[in-house]
């Protein structure tokens, strides 16, 4: 799975990173506000269309395929273990009656599936996909440096903005480090099979070299920062100032309209 910025020439890529942050926050808020699974499906289709518009459709689909497994887990766990039979949940509305669909008891352990529990499980799974899907588009269409610059513009302390931007840029590198350490230890005879317990048993053999590798990377990064006079002045300047254009204003307007529609749909239920 690709885990970083993908350079493309698209409308989405050219948008100001602040606009994309606003869009991301609105998408996150709307996925919480929307009370029905069907509306979340519509939202996911819109995000998929945006991914296609940004020419990152294929990697985004791979990203979403990885997200499907936990979404399924969230749905199934919530369907089977819905307290109050799924009735009590904020920001959700249910249709129909709360019929009992399945009930099985093994002593104190009871599994109950109700119509509301089923809807709740579906809503939570889709809600998670609704949170992750725009994040995928954002990661693939925004350079981490632009993201850090946008955070700085939001008056977030520079050290935090820098750390967040650098951390996002480091994700693919760290995943590569994990894969490299596991491969190196397997070459030394480590039994890294598919069983979870045996993996947990050999985890220290992977974790300690990984930490050593990360500390070395941090030391190199700190040296690079110091050679560029990191922290020498309180007021930092930047060579790059993202422009806020008409397209950005339109995108922010559409995002706020969607947020308003989400609030209205929430109030209507």
């Amino acid at each position: 799975m690709q885990a970083g910025y993908l350079p493309r020439s698209s409308f989405i890529h050219r948008l100001n990173p602040l606009t994309k942050i606003v869009w991301l926050c609105v998408a996150g808020a709307v996925s919480f506000l929307v009370p029905r699974p069907s509306l979340l499906v519509v939202m996911l289709v819109i995000v998929a269309a945006l991914a296609a518009l940004a020419r990152i459709g294929r990697p985004w689909l791979v990203f979403m395929r990885a997200a499907l497994l936990p979404a399924l887990a969230i749905s199934v766990i919530n369907i089977l273990m819905s307290p109050y039979h799924g009735e009590r949940m904020l920001f959700a509305s249910y249709s129909g009656e709360n019929r009992l669909l399945f009930h099985q008891a093994w002593g104190p352990l009871q599994l109950t599936v109700t119509a509301f529990g089923l809807q709740k499980g579906l809503l939570l799974g889709l809600r998670w996909l609704g949170l992750v899907a725009p994040a995928g588009v954002f990661i693939y269409a925004t350079r981490p440096e632009d993201f850090a610059a946008a955070l700085s513009r939001l008056r977030i302390p520079h050290s935090v903005a820098f750390a967040a931007g650098a951390a996002l840029r480091l994700i693919p590198v760290l995943i590569e480090d994990i894969v490299t350490v596991i491969a190196a230890q397997r070459a030394r005879g480590l039994q890294w099979d598919r069983r979870l317990i045996s993996r947990a048993r050999v985890l220290p053999v992977v974790i300690v070299p990984l930490i050593g590798c990360s500390i070395r990377r941090a030391t190199d990064m700190a040296a690079a920062m110091e050679t560029r006079a990191y922290g020498a002045t309180a007021h930092r300047t930047s060579c790059y100032a993202p422009q806020f254009r008409v397209a950005d204003a339109c995108a922010v307007g559409v995002s706020l309209a969607v947020l308003l529609a989400g609030i209205v749909s929430r109030m209507g239920t």
Binding site: L24, C25, G28, S31, L69, P70, A73, I74, V76, I77, N78, L80, M81, P83, Y84, R88, M89, L90, F91, L124, W128, L131, V132, A135, F138, I139, L151, S159, V160, F162, A163, A164, A166, A167, L168, L170, I171, L174, I175, I178, L196, I207, V208, L210, I211, G212, S214, I215, R217, A218, T219, M221, A222, M225, E226, Y230, G231, A232, T233, A234
Partner: protein, 185 residues
């Protein structure tokens, strides 16, 4: 260097890399563990088994006040893209970091001591699970309390592991000029 810059370049680099590493580990392992254990270990409980380990370890490496709050903000921002809790991580993870900072705020409560590490891990783990179950999943019966208890136990074990890991790294002599390295010398 001006007074407004609290963390040195090396502190920022360490916080950045280890925050990203812990977030990636949670994102990669939590869904797999939940599915493999058929939901017996829910995602928040497994996450509260990983976060405190990272929290104690980062604190041991950097050793400055508000290290964990800073790390929590970075984890929250990164986690909002790759974790199941999305932008909710921006609230839960910095708050969890503040718990570590509160526990390790006392001069005697060092992250390389087992008891403070266990207490910090337990509190952070219990808080994380409670806030996720109660606010994110919006479950309002005794389940959040039971789940937080489980999260507290996972966090305590994780805190202890983080402490042992920090001691082990100090003994290896990888970072002799860090707080744990100086302590080992």
């Amino acid at each position: 260097m001006t007074r407004s810059v609290h963390f040195s370049a090396r502190d920022v680099a360490l916080i950045t890399i280890f925050s990203a590493l812990v977030t990636v580990l949670v994102a990669l392992t939590a869904p797999a563990v939940t599915v493999a254990t058929a939901g017996i270990v829910p995602i928040p409980v497994w996450a509260s088994f990983i976060w405190p380990m990272g929290g104690v370890f980062i604190r041991a490496l950097v050793g400055r006040p508000f290290t964990n709050a800073f790390s929590g903000v970075v984890e929250g921002i990164v986690g909002s893209f790759i974790l199941p809790i999305g932008i909710f991580g921006l609230v839960a993870l910095p708050a969890q970091g503040l718990i570590f900072d509160a526990v390790f705020g006392s001069r005697r409560a060092k992250p390389t001591r087992l008891l403070p590490a266990v207490v910090a891990g337990a509190l952070a783990g219990a808080f994380f699970v409670f806030i996720i179950v109660y606010v994110f999943f919006q479950i309002r019966n005794p389940f959040p309390l039971a789940a937080s208890l489980l999260g507290g136990v996972a966090g305590a074990v994780s805190g202890a592991l983080g402490c042992l890991l920090a001691r082990h790294i100090a003994r290896l002599g990888i970072m002799p000029d860090s707080p744990i390295g100086r302590e080992a010398v």
